[in-house]
Amino acid sequence: MLRINKINNETLKTYLLFLFCFCFSLVGAQTVTGTIINGTSSEPIEDALVIAKNGDKVVSYTYTDVNGHYNLKINNFAEITLTASSLGFVSENLRIRFVESQVNYVSDFQLNEKTETLTTVVLKADEKIKINRDTISYRISAFKDASERTVEDMLKKLPGIEVDDDGNIRALGKPIQKILIEGDDLADSNYKVISKNLDITVLDKIEIINNYDENPVLKQFLSSENIVLNLKLKKDKKSVLFGKAEIGGGIENRFLGDVNLGVINPLVKLLNLANTNNTGSPAGRQFGVYTYSPIGFNDFTKDFSINQNPIVFLSGSTNELNTENYIENTSVSNNLLINKRFSDSIKLRNSLYYFNDSFEQYYKSEYQYFVEPKDIFFKEQNSFNQEKFNLSNDLKITFTPSKDRNITVANTLTFLNGTSKNGLLFNEENVQQTLRNKTREQDTQIQLTQKIKSGAVVIDFYVGSKKLDQIFKIFPNTFIADSINQKTLSYSDYNTTLDYQGLDASLVFKNNKTSYSFTGGFQHINETIKTKSYLGFQNQNEKIDSLSGRHTARSLLPHLQFKIEEELYQDVLLYANLDAIWNSYDKNNFSKNFFLPNPSAGLRIRKTKTGTYHFKYSYISEIPRLNYFTDNFIIKSYRNLSLGISKPEALKSHSYSFNYTFARVEKRILFNVSATHRKFLNQVSFKNSLGQNTDITQSIFSPGQKLWLFQASFTSYIDPVNTSVKIGYQKQFSEQAVIINNENSKLKNNTSQYYLSGTTYLKGVVNFKILANYTINAGENGRNTIRNERYKFELKTIFNINKVFIATFESKGYLVSSQFYETNNAEIEFRPKGKNWTLGLKIINIFNDKEYIFENSSDYVQTATVFDAVPRYGILYGRFRF
């Protein structure tokens, strides 16, 4: 029933006129009230809904109170439709057209009962919607605090992602396979090229993709333990040219230049990263040998390439300091990455890179050999000059004709030229060593994957061909002592070739909780090592027969493999890999057939009340590479001649490992223990004859080598000072049987490390990161024990003023044999908010230290090395993004 006040027409007209004057200041606000009652029982209906709509738009709504009353305020609408409804009743509508003269309206409703059954089912109670959980994405805006520059800086901030000092990235505890950009692969496993160079401002999200499988056939039924990161660009950067330019100059002719250029659009992605500097960032570090080994059952993306081993290594000595403190470099590099989609089923990725690094280093060493009959002592003063030129191309084409078939073709070409020059003063003698390297490598791998009824067939075919030529000159020669040849140089020519071909076919199945596969394959490896040493004086070259030789090793390796992975219960995983390899081995005039079993098994138990456990066992057997079996003497350095083993044998060892983690964060406890034991039944050892001027090393097989590694750490958090702390202990013990100067020795080496580290999270302007480490090393060689102890301190102080000025001071100090010395570097940056440029200043070796001393000892050698420090310099640089 409705009651409406009846208003006189005359009064209405006057009222309207009156209101018209106030039209602009008065907003038409009306109040609608009323009562809603049950039509049958006349009882008021509490919590009935009254909703006022204007057309489709909801203007206002309310629920009736305990007396069935409602009160609605309507602003600025000429008319509304009121609907009164309640469960179990028929809804009622009423139209109200507002007039200016009336402010209050009363509308009562009477609702009639009805039996209502509203039932609708979209999913059953236990059903869940299907969601792909393989990707975790982080919105960069949620974690950014304006202090990040490169992708690497940003990754350090994201939960679940860790970046170590070398830039190696782990996500969710596992090493990542690669970094994609908008789903496309540009750099393959050389992902550091992207993480260290790409500027963060073009990115919107970073995704961690779990279960990543490039193989679309296997992905349909196999899970994978591979993890990749996918960078998603900001919407306005998806089809555009972007980049950054950095340029700097400093005292003492220091310079740096860095240009990133990116072209990203749906058809092609291009990234060109160019860099040149002499401020401690060698190009080789980014293109370093990073081989990604897939984890777990799904390792069907593995790399079949085999590495070549050089005969001679001539590079300077390294230590724990940052390379910029003790190595001078001049580097130029350029990396062009392309990813192009030719059609829905053909994709191409190519990476062409070039770098030219040159290094300079100066250091002095003192050596002491603890041997019979008398200790040997000598000094070296070294100047090192190394130059490397590298041109490489990585190509990969993927062809997916249907969802059940996938073909990939990958090819790598490498050209490497290098020269190492070492001028040294050996005791009082001047010796010049020069090594020229020339590497030519080619590797091609083709993989075909075809889906079959309950699994897939994977066929891999690979071919590789590698050549390494080394020319090694020593002047004057130090091996032939007679007076005529004293001033002649020794000239050694080493040629190594490695050719391999192979075919592997696998049947892969997965049902419910078990994955298993059968593989059969065949590999052919052909290695040759040719060594020629000459005595060259004036224009005559005389070949030294005892230092020359030719070796060929040919292996035919058929193998059968069975792999299985099974989830026994939730969070309990059992896995095993049984690989049986036969090697029909042929070397010069020796041949033998070897059987090389390689079984391994593991058990992983996660998330129990007492923590997480992982046990693993493997048995490893293999034939060492040809460079161990060169049975003529080879000149390895000015004081080292080396002889290989004449009769090849298999190396055999057992490996056991255990890992345990326990975490109770509320009690501030995080505890981790791991232990590894490797027991060698047969291993390559050596027989050394050490003399004042020359060392002769002969490789031999010896049983009984042992290695133990134990680590434990406890991490906590100290609330009052907002600092996380960790204390840890690491112990390494190894035992090896050797022969030194005709004496059988059992070398035992024991290293213990105690360390403490802490990071502060203070809210103010300063924060610290501290590390203190005490290492004690004891080497025993049956005769005596050599001890070595060292204290190390590291302090990193970070000043952050409003996120605009950021300064980092890094100090590393060492206390060795009561001598204390340190390195100090600083980096200060000015990042104005909202601008796309940054200014920075970098200072190396603030206190202009002159040298750094390091001591090393093994079981019978003690070395003390003094490195010349790179003299103090500062460099001012500017960075601009576009």
Binding site: I51, L87, I136, E162
Partner: protein, 264 residues
Amino acid sequence: MPLKALLLFLTILNFTICISQTERGLIRYGEIQSLSLGAPIGVDYNAILMFDNNSSLYITRKDSLEKTKIDGQKSVITAQGGSIFTAVTNEKGFQYNNLIKKDSFYSRDLGFNYVKEKTPKISWKIEKETKTIGQLTCQKATATFRGRDYTAWFAPEIPLPYGPWKLQGLPGVILEAYDTNKEIFWYFKSFEYPVTTMLPSFKPVTPPKGKDWISIETFKEIQIKNFKNAQIAGKMVAEKMNIETYSNDTMKNSYIEVFDVEDK
């Protein structure tokens, strides 16, 4: 005669009692929490909303609501043994009781705290968009509540101001709701009215002996403290791995109600 009258009287009484007894409704939802992960990839819990004309009770993470243990969903484990998703249910579950007649909201919330507060007033903006969920037409509404921007789809055909968790106050029951990126996501499974199947007891939330109600202010303090603990956990893990970690995080990446940000 008197007997007939008595019988008539009893029948009428019975009849009126039957009519005045309020019918109950039951909505089943799925609740997925994936805070900081940018997509609804967290653990998917079963949840129910029981209601009548007087009040509603929303229950989630209850052991008996899950037929089997939370299985078939990969919890993501980090090397430290901690996990990004903690899939945990408990005996009583988390309960949220909206007593519209008393304008009060009683919850058995995180940390098993019993929180009493006035029913939160959410300033919903009702949009024109509609969609069908099951056989019901739903309309869209948006609001910012305690640090998050929510989108809710409510059904005017069920004219009661109820919804999952603490989302309520619309001219219809909320059948689906989510925040930006669906890091909190309630999705609809089924609706039954009146309820004919067996229901868990529809009793108002009461703290057990020895536990008291706390106010929303106290609960806020407890949550902020818990959050700080979680931050510390992250820092401890970073220390153990000898890596850097982000030092300042917002509650938004760990809790639904962002108490360290003032609601406008």
